[in-house]
Symmetry: D2
Subunit: 112 residues, 4 copies
């Protein structure tokens, strides 16, 4: 997916509805967190094994919708804060590669 | 940002560290939610006005890092669940346009 | 409120329904986080001023319900982990009093 | 645990530091959600089985601290909104008993 087109479309969507007044970074960060929890709610009582098969259940469409909701607020937040997503990803992945070397982190989820 | 390259890179990153065992959809949804809260934590005690200027403060880099963390787990989750992000966004935005018509939602954040 | 009676009642409620299998600490921590987000969702688009008057609106009852939901999972989690809530509160408040002295923290929300 | 004493003590703690200005219901709901996520973070990569033994690990004290943090903001929020916790619990448990009858919910986590 190319994000730029969606960023523009979501900005227009907000502007047409005069929603910029609600879309402060603080409110968007809240909305992002709330949507991430709605996604989490679907997995709440599933075993890890059941969670792997969720897309073949009646909740599959809800997962798709919530993933899109999280992406929506993430793109909106990055837009209003003027964050370069590609640069942010590059910096973070480089830092993670240093912090979690293959040698030390193979098979371990331990935080470093 | 083109997401496909990052999806591939993050998958390789996980595979090299044998982290697929931890990356069940349930755990990734948890991690996504936890990272969204770490982002929210930055804005917690700021006024809406202060939140708008956060990138010019010493917390700006932390915001960038947390945005990248949220994106990372969102892409990983979509990957392991084989979700087409572009299609999910298209479906969701179309549904929102119907639900929140410009006529009824102008200047109002009310849920419909 | 005396919590002990509720802890017992919630445990019985779970046992009668054979829900102990779902009430692992991990799942209860997820449920707690999901309920806290449902509470947060009510305040999402409100201004700080509007949030102060929420109990006099039609959402007041929803706030009460979500507060009870958060309390429910907090008591369940403390119960299955055998945490002494009173001792945990005493330790935490003592630590906070040291960390956030009146002298240094008056009028400031800065993390120390 | 008797909550009333803690509610009073936390209110005094906030007043002494002139923190009432930060403790809007919206901000307290955010803080509650952030603390619930910090608690969740501890369980993030644990298996359900590992999560059951967390109090015997080096993370046990962190669990106790985060549980107290969640309780702190829950009591503060209930205080500023003047919510009767006992009445809220009674109403919620009565509603849950009706919704999740033993007959229909035995051994099932399905939402009703």
């Amino acid at each position: 997916m190319e994000t730029t087109g969606w960023t523009d479309r979501l900005r227009t969507f907000a502007e047409e509805r005069e929603w910029e007044q609600f879309h402060t970074p603080k409110n968007l960060a809240m909305a992002l967190s709330v949507e991430a929890s709605e996604l989490l709610e679907i997995f709440q009582w599933l075993t890890p094994e059941e969670s792997a098969g969720v897309m073949r259940t009646e909740r599959g469409q809800a997962v798709r919708d919530e993933v899109a909701d999280v992406m929506t607020y993430l793109l909106r937040l990055a837009d209003v804060l003027d964050i370069d997503l590609n640069a942010a990803m590059a910096a973070k992945v480089a830092a993670s590669a240093k912090r979690y070397t293959v040698e030390h982190s193979k098979g371990s989820a331990a935080k470093r």
